[in-house]
């Protein structure tokens, strides 16, 4: 775990920032750290999916319907 943390620091994913702590809920340290890791993988996964979707669209003759809803 420490290795992953160090990696994240190296990659600049974990940075210093000045944030006011107004939380009234204890979010749990482990959960906060895990989120950053999960989100990175998921976001990367979405980027890959959208890359392939664009390739498909480029080669297809049909129009793909765009989805920009809030949900």
């Amino acid at each position: 775990m420490k290795k992953i943390l160090n990696l994240l620091v190296l990659l600049g994913i974990i940075e210093l920032s000045n944030l006011p702590a107004q939380a009234y809920l204890d979010p749990g340290t482990g959960s906060m750290i895990l989120q950053t890791i999960i989100a990175t993988f998921v976001a990367a996964g979405i980027a890959v999916k959208s890359f392939w979707a664009q390739i498909k669209f480029f080669f297809s003759s049909k129009k793909e319907s765009g989805n920009d809803n809030d949900e």
Binding site: I14, S17, L19, A23, Y24, T29, S31, I38, A39, E71
Partner: protein
Amino acid sequence: MTNNVLEASFRDPSGFIFKQNDVLYRQINTPYKEDYDLFLKSGLYQKLIDKNYLVSHEEVGNFSEVAYKTIKPDLIDFISYPYEWSFSMLKDAALLTLKIQKIAVKNEMSLKDASAYNVQFQDGKPIFIDTLSFEKFAEKPWIAYAQFCRHFLAPLLLASYVDIRLTTLLRDYIDGIPIDLASKLLPAKTKFNPSILMHIHLQAKTIAKYEGNSTVNIKTLKMSKNNQLALLDSLKDLVNSLKWQPKGTEWGDYYTFTNYSDEAMQNKGELVKSFVEKINPKTCWDLGANNGYFTRIASDKGIPSVAFDIDPIAVEKNYLQIKNENEKNIIPLIVDLTNPSPAIGWNCRERESLISRNKVDIVFALALIHHLAISNNLPFKKIAEFFAGICNNLIIEFVPKKDSKVKILLSTREDIFPEYDEKNFKKAFLNYFRLVDKKEILNSERTLYLFSK
């Protein structure tokens, strides 16, 4: 005035809910001024209102000098708790929370908490009730993520992969099912699902690893808006994928296997309807409602009704029908009448017991008495006392020993119920009520009674 503050409303320094002269208000304290103003100015409030995701409110005059603002929120017909919800109700409440968080993030705000108690059901749909739960967005991990996993993800996963009855763990764990407990209870195959692996199993490990660790400063953790939205999508996809398709329980196909002929069923419905029209109640509870077939006699008339049943399948069927047909005025809940929801939480007052939540105008106790008296050994006296404590009017069906269903109940046990007859039944209830009407159900052994205080 502090005496009228609702018992559950103490954790959030932003404000609290209170009652004054029997009207419900929410006070917004000065420290929350910026976030509240942003909530309105950013248009987020209006967006959520327009979609019917959040209870609307009107601003009223302040009752206290320390208040920034005071608002009067729209009321919920009946307050219910997550451990009383069916699978799809919990799932829809979870999805609503995620939708709201996504819209909030896109509007530069974020939910401070993701408690299941922030959601209620109104007009057949889940709705968010905590107007003060929104804070200014920041590029850091979502503070309410762990709470969302405990309140929503854990019980849904346990219901889906292990047993629906595990959702009642929410009653024991008032801040949601601990992630490590969920991780232990879930079958090994869930470790091969990347989403469940990350959100539950790995989270359980990281929570344990960092417990009591003060060397990591979480205030320095950063998470971009994009990544936050990706996390929300991941949770949404996981919740959406969860299914509960139970094999029949005892009550799942109830109305297929009752002993009512079509004629009896129809006549019973007409009688219940005529009794309801006689009383014209403002609210209705149907106890042992099964899929809400008779509850709808009241709710279809616009009477806010609650359909209670012990069987999760029946309640689920009821909810799915409400959803499909866009029905309002009815909410189905899972309750064991012999062990109804107790008061829980701080000082045993935070979340109310079932019977102290409202006094209801009319109760339906149809095809129920024999289950209470015979299956549960409850004397008529105690049953009558219970009903007298919860309602003003009662439609109750007496099911005699010669009824085939009672014969089934008695077939597997000794008949220690010499007092179980109509005479004693009537006597016990006349202690608390007066008899308004009584009709025999055609083509059946059963009699319908209408009692009023």
